[in-house]
């Protein structure tokens, strides 16, 4: 639910619950976006293929 939804109320419950949800989703989203973009850049530079982790 977003603040522009008609059910939204600006109270502690909504802010804490949804704030926590968006916080976690943002970390996951930003983290994965970083990994994918860096992988694209690394691949265009010719890195990878037979290395080790």
């Amino acid at each position: 639910m977003f603040p522009f939804s008609f059910e939204w109320i600006w109270d502690a419950g909504h802010i804490v619950f949804h704030g926590g949800l968006w916080y976690a989703l943002n970390i996951i989203g930003i983290g994965m976006t970083y990994c994918v973009i860096k992988a694209v850049i690394d691949s265009t530079k010719g890195k990878g293929g037979h290395g080790h982790h």
Partner: protein, 434 residues
């Protein structure tokens, strides 16, 4: 046939044997899927749930697999945040088991809500006063984290790893895994706790109700603590079963013993807290709400004091003593016994906190309400087990889950032994002339 996909340096069973195994477990899976479709198309009348049992076998299975899957977040926390680097040799399997447990939990919930097409309502029309809303949020997000932790393992498949993009993506995800692991630990703390909180806030049911800290009843902390304590036990038990099925050692003893020791101390501290909680509840909380201990454990055909003994002593004190005592922990038989008792103990705890809560009479005119699941409930509860076995079979065959497997089971010796008889059988052979 599929040798190009099998990790380097390890041996797997023939394809026919693998397919036969898949077929047998697949038949069980199909039975569960049939029951699941019955529930979805015909509705919750396919279950034996009633006005007493709004939560039943599914919710027990849900809470149990979530607790047992706790090995993933706790092992991740120990490896990436605390810095127990030895655990890198078992973390892949912990993640896989966690992935199976959490996907199973979501599948069970999708069956339990009756109308899965409206599953998204809990996010969009969220009831912010419900602990279960918080559980739904954290469970979904943590499943995303587990998927992120599982993806690099898939990308390390021998053929996929040859693709530069997949190789780089896997590498980058490994590099940033600490961030995901920390997020996973944060999410796990809250959803494990809130599952306990759901029972603890039931002030109308003295069997479940507990006092606590601010808005969190003690069951909130006990559930998180027990998941962190017993989750690694389940990971180690499944690792042991996998070793027995594969007939080879997959993880070195020092890794097993380290995780077992940590799990033992966690169970030990948890059990002390649980005993304190039970003592206070039996002597102060429940009597204050008008019931006493005998009301919860007598007067019915199933729930007796034995269940309290089995949960706290057999499933708590005994495995804790075994795992924190070095001589007992180093003995494989005792160690596995402790894993088994631990898994039984935490599963029993979740059973009690879901089903016994519903069974205990509350009103003066009430009687014990015992419940027997329908075959559809049983089949859909076994469904995730079959799904888990299949996913483990496929992952074990094609992905490098156990980094120490090749070292522990060198296949060069077998090749050398195969060559030796051939050279010995022709002792008079002379070198050929040029």
């Amino acid at each position: 046939m599929d040798s190009a996909l099998i990790p380097k340096g390890v041996k797997r069973c023939p394809m026919w044997q693998f397919l036969l195994g898949l077929g047998i477990v697949g038949a069980v899976l199909a039975w569960g899927v049939y029951a699941m479709l019955l529930v979805w198309f015909k509705g919750l009348n396919q279950t034996n749930m009633n006005d007493y049992y709004g939560f039943a076998l599914w919710i027990w299975a849900d809470l149990a697999v979530i607790a047992l899957g706790g090995g993933a977040f706790f092992s991740g926390l120990l490896k990436y945040i605390v810095g127990k680097d030895e655990l890198k040799n078992i973390i892949n399997y912990a993640v896989l088991i966690g992935f199976i447990c959490y996907s199973s939990a979501l599948l069970i919930l999708a069956i339990d809500i009756g109308q899965p097409l409206r599953g998204w309502f809990i996010f969009w029309h969220a009831n912010v006063h419900s602990m279960l809303t918080e559980v739904a949020f954290c469970l979904s997000c943590y499943f995303a984290v587990l998927t992120i932790e599982y993806i690099p393992l898939i990308l390390e498949n021998r053929q996929l790893d040859k693709v530069p993009f997949f190789h780089n993506l896997s590498h980058n995800m490994h590099e940033t895994m600490a961030v995901f692991a920390a997020t996973g630990a944060f999410l796990s703390f809250f959803h494990q706790g809130s599952l306990g909180g759901v029972a603890g806030v039931l002030f109308g049911r003295p069997f479940a109700f507990r006092e606590g800290l601010l808005i969190w009843p003690w069951t909130f902390f006990l559930f998180t603590w027990s998941a962190a304590a017993y989750g690694p036990c389940f990971t180690l038990l499944i690792t042991w079963i996998t070793e027995k099925v594969a007939r080879k050692k997959l993880v070195k003893d020092n890794v097993i013993e380290l995780l077992a020791k940590i799990s033992g101390w966690m169970i030990f501290t948890y059990t002390i807290a649980k005993i304190c909680d039970t003592t206070r509840w039996a002597n102060i909380t429940a009597p204050g709400l008008g019931q006493n201990l005998a009301d919860f454990y007598t007067g019915n055909a199933f729930y007796g004091y034995w269940i309290l003994f089995a949960e706290i002593i057999l499933g708590g004190v005994v495995p804790a003593i075994i795992l924190i005592s070095a001589p007992l922990r180093k003995n494989p038989t005792w160690r596995v016994t402790a894993f088994f008792l631990g898994v039984m103990g935490v599963s029993l705890n979740r059973w009690v906190m879901v089903l016994q809560v519903m069974a205990v009479p509350i009103m003066p005119f009430d009687t014990w309400a015992l419940y027997y699941p329908s075959w559809q409930e049983v089949a859909t509860t076994i469904l995730p087990v079959a799904y888990g076995i299949i996913l483990i079979m496929i992952s074990y065959r094609y992905l490098p889950i156990f980094p120490q497997e090749a070292e522990l089971n060198p296949i060069q010796e077998e090749a050398a032994m195969a060559v030796e008889p051939h050279t010995e059988s022709v002792p008079d052979l002379k070198p050929a002339n040029a």
